[in-house]
Amino acid sequence: MAKPPTTVPSAASPPARLIDGQFSVDITRPIPGAGGGLPAFVAVDRGEGRTGLMAVQVRRYLPVRPLALQTLGGPAFARNGIEELLSPLAYGAAPAPGGEEAGFLICEAPPGPALSVSLRPWAETELLTLVLRPAARALDQLALRGLTHRGIRVDNVFRAGVGHPVVLGCAWATPPAALQPAIAEPPYVAMCHPAARGDGTIADDVYALGVLLLTLALGRVPLAGLSELEITRQKLDLGSLAALVGDHRLGSFLADLLRGMLAEDPDHRPPPALLLDPAAARSRRTAARPPSRAPRPIQIGDMVCWHPRTLAHAVATQPEPGLEVLRTGVVGQWLRRGLGDGPLAVHLEEQIRIRGAMPLPDAPIETEAMLLMRAVAILDPLAPMCWDGLNLWPDGLGTLIAACQDPAVPANVDLAGRVARMISAEGQTAWASHRGDRTDARSPRMDARQLHTLLYLPGPGGGLARLAYQLNPLLPCTSPGLDSRWVAQLAELLPALDAAARRERPVEPVGPAVAGFVAARGDRGLEAAVAQFGNTPGPVGPMAQLRLLARLQARYHPRPLPALGAWVADGADQLLSVFQSRPRRIKLRPKLLELASTGQLTALLTMLDDADTKRNDDRDVQRAARDLALIDSVLVRIGRDGPARAEQARRIGQEVAAGIGLTALATLLMVAALG
């Protein structure tokens, strides 16, 4: 691979959108193999004129690692001083080759080709001086900053040329280890969902470095041709070193070094600082007792298990047969009689009896998943969290939820359901309780209770979509209407929504995905505006939408939004219905349309939310309602008083008749008296 050009393109190049106000992406000049598994292009620093940069195109549902970007990139880039590493600089959106917008991570470009380009057996001296020491130095610096690399593999490590030290490639544009093959990762990481491997520890990088050393020592990738699952099973069954080395012979120095680096237990691997002195690292031998094999295996599904480690893996990956053998007591018998591990059998059976005998009400799936999770944690304390066939490290939960949002993968619906059930049952807490002092190393970023609370917040302010944005600060908005845009920050949201509304007049510009995005990224005021969307399915009222849009405009984008204004004008009658007085609505309508045409949503909201006007309207409507009630009561009385009026008419009529008769009598008597 040729080193990317070091000259700034001529001014005749078409104007490009700048990332971080400084970097442009030249999509006409791809850099094959440089992006650590992602497409990479030449990036140009138009601010400081830096050269040797690349832009790695980010996948929409595999978010960039924010901590690495914050710690190594931006203002910290100049002083991070890790020369053996391709450090990130900035992150932002730019036009991608397909014409749509995509996220790009600006990163240092590799100095030369990847080691995989010309793979050959390396001499031990070369390995130690040109690979181990520079990589260990980079890992040591990362560890000091609380970071991990999680992308060390033969095609993501580069060097400028023969005799030059290696440089670790870009591993920041995806979740940790998301693109790592099973061969490069410890089996307890490889068995996890690619998006759920978590940041892990620097010991995981040491393992990957060990695999790289072995690959270079052999001159070829070990276990090539085997499936990912088979590689993981062999590592668990035989131990990583034995599985990877196989029948090959290694020098004693390298073999001793790799024994430590490829240890199954992360605590047994040498730290990077120790690897800077390979002789010292070699001498540090932590005795890891190999798992004892039973004379007779136990069959779980299609897997033959000889020891608890493989048994735990079988139960974790095949939940249905695993659950069956756990409940029938076959596992306990095998542990006791076959393996001779009575205490482990007793512990496991206690847990099965206690937990299995007390199912959660109306939640059989959660009960079974919890039982499986506890069984795996007891059988193999090094294993990741296993929940209903899904294996993950809790610190990878956020990126897993982000990956679940991808609608192009049908299996994500089921996956999201399992994740939601796990959070609902707060499985992480139960898992952590079985790991003792190992929990701290991979503790979840957010407390399980917080996740549970966010999951069950009503409306679009809660749920997995909200969690995806909350746990992944750089995940772009995944709203279907914003497919062609890359909106990772709230400031970019309104222009994108306005552009989407210009293309097609929306029923509701703020869909559930957008609302969840705003709730996660915004302040309390915006979260409250999202909460007003309510928890009812179907379209949200235009007033709630306008309130959110106006607040966003006030905070992040004071410029006009004509297309969204046109949407407001379409729903003017509905918006004006906040006022109950028809004359008031008629009076305000022209003003509303005028503000809508100028795209000033904030002023529009101010008019509709004016406290005095609303107070007057409320007062007047209360008076009108009282008058209406009075009229209704009179009408009711008129209708109800029919019989009373009939009785009154009868009485009056009879009195009148009697009066006439009396008058006639009196008159005739007077006439008779007068003669």
Binding site: R582, R645, G653, L668
Partner: protein, 164 residues
Amino acid sequence: MAKRTPTTRAVSGAAAPQGGKASAIGWMQGLACGGLVAVLPPTALLLGALLGPALAALFLDRQPGKPVARSVLLFALAASVRPIRMLWVAGHTMATSIVLATDPDIVGTAWAAAAAGWLLAELTPLAVRIVLEAISRAQATRLLAARAALAEEWGLDKKAAPPG
């Protein structure tokens, strides 16, 4: 036999004085009529003939206060003033009373007056009711118009439908 409750005893106790009062009035009316027949037989004969329909109305009218009979009686009495005066002018004899009581014009006039009294007692309530209903309808129409205007102006149409 069912045992009488205190309530039924109280009701029957209250009805007893009213029945006694009506009976006393009846006895007094009977005594007056008897007195009239005994003291002024010609007048009693003539009145008996002329007020026959009124007496029948008094018997038939079961309404409290006998409003129809009262009207019939007043009209019949008004029509009886002239024949009674003629009887007394003619010497108040039995023969004159019989002549007058059998005169179709006199009896017809008295009975027609009684009929007019009955008709008036029946029709006047109807006429009054028509007037009262017309007044109520006019008021309801006016109120409904006011209500519709109010509801339209304030958008209260859907919140409160008019009664009835």
